[in-house]
């Protein structure tokens, strides 16, 4: 099958979903009212609450949610064949993510722009707020560990990416100083930075970097994992303007340039999907498609983190409530398109089925390296760029996102640890350095607990990350269901996705639990049990809250008394 045909089918599905299903949800379920005074107007202050044109707001929203996750998940998920991944991304985006993202935005808009976290507390109860923070911490723990492993593997597989990936730190430091301390204009430093970054890719190709094969029992990927966590620890302690803020500009430009290059290459190369529709020759370590597909691919189908974005800044800028459909629903469609691109790269970027099979030889073998190799081949074929440069470009793009996530993730974990230190009166947790060491220590323990001294195989964590992300989605869908129930409106369009993600989450956790026990992966087994406990907690809260809502009288206003 032609990759263009696959892309057209996927984009066509998204278009139908937007035109028909989102309109149905908007008109009949959320009943979006263009005359409703949104918080942007009611609390207009030009600071946090600013009515914003929907095109500008869509750009803002999409730029906020685009990242590495809708690439990693599908890049792993195609091991079951392209068809299941494709169906989950398209059906999930249309019926699950679109409703979830738009609903989170709508719920926030109807509650004075309050966040999903605050709404969780109001709708479900104070216990749920604590649950929310635990889920966030677990998510950060896993995403940091997984991304460190992914970057480490990329550095080994695409050695030309090492120099540009580290050089960009120097570039970011320079950009930060120029923009935030010297106040220079934005455009030329950004373009120069981009030029330097691409130039460094050529340098990286000429001087590929490798670490010693083994140091103190640690193989090369494991050494990179440690180096990356040292970087993340230092970066997370720096003032945000020094490194974190400038990365926003570099990553943003990289994202859109990279996507433009990739999509152009697909159109010109028109590669053929060589991966099987259903992979009947699965490697032995691949877990069952049901339920693992649905937690392996989260972002790009449904992602709980999107609810945080919808109810963070976006809801405070919404000009008209009817814009929820365009901004919220279409934002999730954009994410679905990213996931679709990843599927194409990982199924059509290989010359033959045999080559694809040998790449996807284990469950952990896919992921970003498959995206880099497959996408690099397509870019090389379509745009006549050297394949090595194309692979480096994609690898560096992935590394930039993942490394920035690590910086933020460790920083957030430190904040949470410090907050726990205050709440539970444990002074040792309140120091910046101590809290950072604790955060990084846990991440390293997880990374090596999953991959051992080799520092590989850590992609086993990814489904755990997906289950936790889906828990967050389940919480958001619960809130939406309760709100709709209180309004006396149909709840099936949010309840079905909620039940689905929660059931798949629990099933996936049980399947993985058995697997970790068989493989004697006790660290991951303990993690799994923690998340399983959180999942059961969410399910019980859901039952209790829905029962209370059903017993209460229907209301005219959706406000939940935040």
């Amino acid at each position: 099958m032609s990759a263009i045909v696959l892309a057209a089918l996927g984009l066509g599905g998204f278009a139908l979903g937007y035109v028909f299903y989102s309109r149905f949800i908007a008109d009949r379920i959320f009943q979006l009212d263009p005359d409703f005074e949104t918080p942007a107007h009611a609390q207009e202050d030009g600071v946090d609450f600013v009515p914003t044109n929907r095109w500008v707001l869509w750009g803002h929203h999409f730029t906020s949610i685009a990242g590495a996750a809708p690439i990693v998940g599908p890049a792993i998920g195609v091991i079951w064949g392209w068809l299941p991944a494709f169906l989950w991304v398209t059906v999930g985006t249309v019926f699950f993510a679109g409703v979830h993202d738009a609903g989170a935005l709508w719920a926030s808009v109807r509650n004075r722009g309050e966040s999903i976290g605050a709404l969780t507390e109001s709708v479900v109860g104070k216990r749920a707020r604590s649950l929310f923070m635990v889920v966030i911490f677990l998510l950060l723990l896993m995403v940091n560990a997984v991304f460190a492993i992914i970057i480490a593997q990329l550095f080994v597989d695409v050695r030309s990416s090492v120099i540009p990936a580290w050089f960009v730190i120097a570039v970011a430091l320079g950009i930060g100083w120029l923009l935030y301390r010297r106040g220079v204009p934005l455009l030329w430093p950004s373009l120069i930075a981009l030029g330097l970054l691409y130039a460094s890719m050529f340098v990286g190709a000429v001087f590929p970097v490798s670490l010693p094969e083994e140091v103190l029992g640690l193989q090369e990927p494991a050494q990179w994992v440690l180096i990356l966590f040292v970087y993340a620890a230092i970066a997370s302690l720096l003032p945000v303007w020094v490194l974190l803020q400038p990365r926003d500009y570099i990553n943003g430009i990289q994202l859109f340039v990279g996507l433009a290059i990739f999509f152009m290459a697909v159109l010109l190369a028109n590669p053929t999907v060589v991966a099987p529709a259903f992979n009947t020759g699965l490697p032995d370590d691949v877990p069952p498609l049901l339920p693992l597909l649905f937690v392996t691919i989260a972002c790009g189908a449904i992602s709980g983190f999107h609810g945080l974005v919808s109810s963070g800044t976006t809801s405070k800028q919404l000009d008209k409530e009817s814009d929820v459909r365009f901004v919220g629903y279409l934002g999730s469609v954009g994410e679905g398109a990213l996931a679709l691109a990843a599927i194409i790269a990982c199924t059509a970027g290989f010359a033959t089925l045999g080559e694809w099979d040998s790449f996807y030889s284990t469950f952990a073998a896919g992921g970003i390296p498959a995206f880099v190799q497959g996408g690099g081949a397509i870019i090389s074929e379509g745009l006549r760029l050297p394949v090595h440069f194309a692979e480096t470009l994609l690898a560096v793009m992935a590394v930039l996102f993942a490394a920035t996530t690590m910086d933020t993730g460790v920083r957030l974990q430190r904040y949470i640890v410090q907050e726990w230190g205050v709440i539970y009166d444990l002074p040792i947790l309140t120091g910046r350095v101590a809290a950072t060491i604790i955060a990084v220590g846990l991440c390293i323990a997880l990374a090596f607990g999953a991959g051992g001294g080799a520092g590989t195989g850590g992609l086993m964590i990814w489904p755990l990350f997906g289950t936790t992300n889906q828990l967050l989605a389940g919480l958001t869908l619960l809130i939406l269901s309760v709100i709709l129930m209180k309004l006396g409106r149909p709840t099936i369009y949010t309840l079905v996705p909620m039940v689905f993600v929660l059931v798949m989450t629990v099933l996936a956790l049980l399947v993985q639990l058995a697997g970790f026990w068989r493989q004697e992966q006790y660290f991951l087994l303990v993690m799994d049990l923690f998340i399983l406990a959180a999942a059961i907690w969410v399910a019980l809260e859901a039952l209790s809250t829905l029962r209370r809502a059903r017993m209460s009288e229907p209301e005219e206003e959706v406000e939940v008394g935040v």
């Binding site: 990553n251 800044t313 907050e419």
Partner: protein, 146 residues
């Protein structure tokens, strides 16, 4: 057409507002960095009473002063927009739209596009401030504009 809602309208291409102000400043959040996973936004922006992005917060509040002053001075006759400079998809089209609508010269247009900083003010398609803003200075520029 302008809506009847106080102070704000969405403007059709057929009717150019008397003045158009674009406040370019960063929102107090991460963007384009780590996607939706592990990012500083919303509930995760304040810890122990300290904001994660104090400088951005300060610029937001400065921009807010300008926003409110212009809104009070001009009311519904002006289009006032706030665009994050990291919102690449929207920033350039927004600028070009105003450059065309207010018939800004080529030289001035280049100066505007290449002169923008992370905190900038564009009035009727022309860059009038970058960096720290003084509301009084900006209002004076407004009075002096054609």
């Amino acid at each position: 057409m302008y809506s009847e809602q106080a102070g704000v309208g969405t403007v059709s291409e057929a009717r150019v507002p008397e003045h158009s102000l674009i406040l370019i400043r960063e929102w107090e959040q991460q963007m384009s960095s780590s996607g939706c996973c592990g990012r500083l936004e919303g509930d995760l922006l304040e810890w122990g009473g300290t904001r994660c992005f104090p400088e951005r917060r300060r610029h937001m509040e400065e921009a807010g002063s300008v926003y409110r002053a212009f809104r009070e001075r001009l009311g519904a006759s002006a289009e006032i927009r706030v665009v994050d400079p990291r919102n690449f998809l929207a920033l350039l089209p927004t600028l070009i739209r105003d450059i065309r609508r207010y018939r800004v010269s080529g030289r001035e247009a280049v100066r505007t596009i290449f002169g923008l900083g992370v905190n900038s003010v564009v009035l009727d398609g022309r860059l009038v401030a970058r960096g720290r803003w003084q509301v009084s200075d900006l209002l004076a520029r407004l009075e002096a504009s054609p």
